[in-house]
Symmetry: D2
Subunit: 294 residues, 4 copies
């Protein structure tokens, strides 16, 4: 089928390519002139035949909000917008309401798979009405690994982004579990072959997983991770998962610990640990590490 | 090759069967007369041709220690004992020293794969000398999924059980990550199809893994896990991982949180939380839940 | 000075009493006719001489919001509202803006001290302009333990409730630290006199604190806390602290762990731990605790 | 009464001074010739009248073990050794057994109070027999803040060091709670007076405590803690508390998080977080921070 794709970066560009490979017609727009087929969203809308389907793959927050507003003005009743970026699940309700005032339909779609998705297919999690899901099914089928798998209609508006958010929270926890295990093996002195141990786990063990495959791959390139600093950004989704857990009174110690480890990794120095140092000095006369003596 | 196997329970029995399927001769002993080929360890030793190889697959602690002692008396110089149970990595040193006094060789082997190992093969992680590893290689090759994979010679004596221990620690963290994500989706109200969402993640997503496959399988049998109580034992290995992390000053918040969640799951009531209730009552006059009114 | 107090419950009632003891004139309104001096907020406003000062001590959220709106209609330019309840610090901005449109001044005040405050005085943390703080200073002085202590002007609008929120987050962490230590001593078997140990810590040790005093007091009444269940509610402020930490990328593992322990204490059964049980059963054939066999 | 004191460092020296102030006769030995009254432990034993009481205040582990052995040779039946250092509670059993073979009595004593103890008195927690406790009571009375307080006979051999260990674990949790709250206030932007806020909490609030007093004091000297690095050692007792919690299946998330925060504070770079960076790079093509570009 025919699809407009707004946002042709690392994710959107690969998705458009996969859709074209599978025989769909994709007309793409991006702020970067080198990536795009049309020069404006207005032109994109014009080029699509009604009822149109437009997939958004732009950064969450302001950029997505603004594009939704622009589409609300340009699209016609019965057109369908699929927000495939990383919107907060509560914003989906806002987007859907804004478009509904003009009779425009809305689906939210969480997309997983990273840069490997073009080749392997993506995991797609969708929120919205069954009618709209059915309408966009050919697109979902082309994006997912094989027809029928890697896809879920998770619930009403927002449910797609909610489960994608939880997926990312789980991902944080799994990554941190491997990270802690790696550090413990490396620190133990007893393990002579850490990369080989991880590689051996790819078969037959309980922890076999795609993340393990990736870790093995990273260690093949840099066996002691000497090229990297222990510094990790966090996307909004880890934070949102923790905040949703707090909202619903769900204990989420593992996901939260993984998030906090990332926060800490980005601190030059820890104000909290200065307090610990100050207190130890106060009550115990413990030596402290002064800034300038270090 | 020929192998003596002591302990023919869920793990040892399946391993013996897999080894026989692959053409090895296994003579087995177990405390349960219905499972064994010989009626005593002495008879087992007698039946094996020197230099012998004996694989131990009995419960960690006392039973393993006693069997090692018995073998130290029965075996001859040049024989090889492989401790494949869940011994603590520090006990391996003790076992190896005890056997070395009689000239008996020792390897420690961590085995992963659970009840699926017979069919899929096991992950095997070994500690000890390269000579002994080479000597037992045919056995390792038969147990692992395919020759060359699922196997690592991790280091000297104890390294096999150390990495198996860490493997289990990571497993705890991964399981807890899925568990928290599941609970959050179930509590959210917004996700209408939790089992379907998890099933969709098996393809294309970052969290795809054998544990996810198993969770999907469990939910196919019992979609809301109504048959189960939220009660989880812990094997020693999760505890040892945390204690090793503390010994080596390695922060392991995720693995530890997963362990503590299991501890808490087994408490009828929490003494710690009684203290919280008592304090809230003291300073705030907050209502507390009394035992007998509940 | 003269003060209108809206909300005469456990906190507001005691504060009004303390203010009167110190010579201030308090006119009180409460939804409960038995507690109040006037029958409506309108009557309260009428009874106060301009420029008026009205202290709010009603539940956070809807009740506070509604009272602010009513006061916006009733008060005159130059009057001052002090929101002393547990409003979220972001709501203070909304309240202040709403009142400012009528020329009415606003302070937010976090109040600590619980039911002991009437006797010991309260800790008061205030956000807003220096002018308004100066104006209400006699009230603050009467409420705090002694002139000059137990009081801080923490910053602009919202700062009072922000630091009160953090205060409560710290309180959660401290309480949980004592709770864990208590449980460990009780579980150890080696400690014959847990209440006596805690009592001994009140003098000379690093952990001496008001919370310890209260714990000792609770154990005097019920030495094994047999009358209580390990069940703890959480006020909004623990949750807000964690969410603020996440917003500001501040690792807060201790405060968060304390919050999650409360969440867990309120669950009849843990969906997350059902997942763990299900997974252990899947991969290891581990026995699980079935609902109906328990 | 008369007491031999071995170890006259920061703790032992102050304790000896306090005991002398209270009228006791203290004969002291230390490896440092400038601090001691006698030149050897043998001379110390000679100078004391039987039945002797000797208080040990030397570093835990090897030094304490060696001193116990030396005393076992030098002391006579009926003499009493009080181990007041930071021995692991399991070592107390070993010490007591070694001395018991010669008929020498043993008490273990946990001591809290830091450098402030000389002036304020110490918290003393003792394990051992009631007879031995009664015998040394005059010493305990002189060390504790006032007769009858700051002292507990916690249980049999080891109980004194066990509860001191738990005390320190609780201390870790309380310190970290303040540290997190401090960092959150400092990061918020909304709190203009963090030291003033903390100072105000000393009166009337739930978190008032000696640790808060010390933090306020530290901030008076260095209001933004600019002189310090966020680097904190841990004594063995925090680690032992976590290991004891794991041994007894007691969830201790707060105490453990506080310990891990100290571990992390001492890492130049985190191997675990390198793994996170490597994984993010693998699956998402996320930019990573390379070592040499930093």
């Amino acid at each position: 089928m025919q699809l407009g794709m707004i946002g042709l970066g690392k994710m959107g560009g690969n998705m458009a390519a996969r859709l074209r490979d599978k025989g769909h017609e994709v007309i793409g727009y991006d702020v970067n002139p080198e990536l795009r087929d049309v020069d404006s969203i207005a032109e994109l809308v014009e080029r699509l035949s009604a009822p149109r389907t437009v997939w958004l793959m732009v950064p969450a927050g302001e950029p997505t909000r603004n594009t939704i507003r622009e589409l609300a003005d340009l699209l016609d009743e019965g057109d369908l917008v699929i927000e495939g970026g990383n919107s907060h699940y509560r914003d989906d309700r806002v987007h859907a309401d804004e478009l509904a005032r003009r009779g425009i339909e809305y689906l939210d779609a969480g997309v997983s798979g990273g840069i490997w998705g073009r080749e392997n297919g993506y995991g797609i999690m969708v929120g919205g009405s069954a009618e709209n899901v059915a309408r966009a099914k050919p697109i979902f089928d082309a994006l997912t690994p094989e027809a029928g798998s890697g896809f879920v209609h998770a619930g009403e508006i927002g449910a797609g982004h909610f489960v994608k958010m939880v997926h990312n929270g789980i991902e944080y926890g799994m990554m941190q579990a491997f990270a802690e295990g790696y550090e413990l093996m490396a620190a133990s002195g007893i393990v002579k072959d850490v990369p080989g141990t991880l590689a051996s786990w790819r078969q037959g063990t309980v922890v076999r997983s795609w993340l393990l495959d990736l870790l093995v791959r990273a260690l093949e390139e840099d066996p002691e991770l000497e090229q990297l600093r222990g510094y990790a950004e966090d996307s909004g989704e880890g934070r949102w998962t923790v905040q949703a857990a707090v909202d619903h009174a769900v204990p989420a110690p593992v996901i939260t610990a993984a998030l906090y480890a990332r926060f800490a990794s980005r601190q030059e120095d820890s104000p909290a640990m200065k307090v610990i140092a100050a207190l130890r000095n106060q009550f115990g006369g413990h030596a402290v590490v002064k800034k300038n003596t270090d």
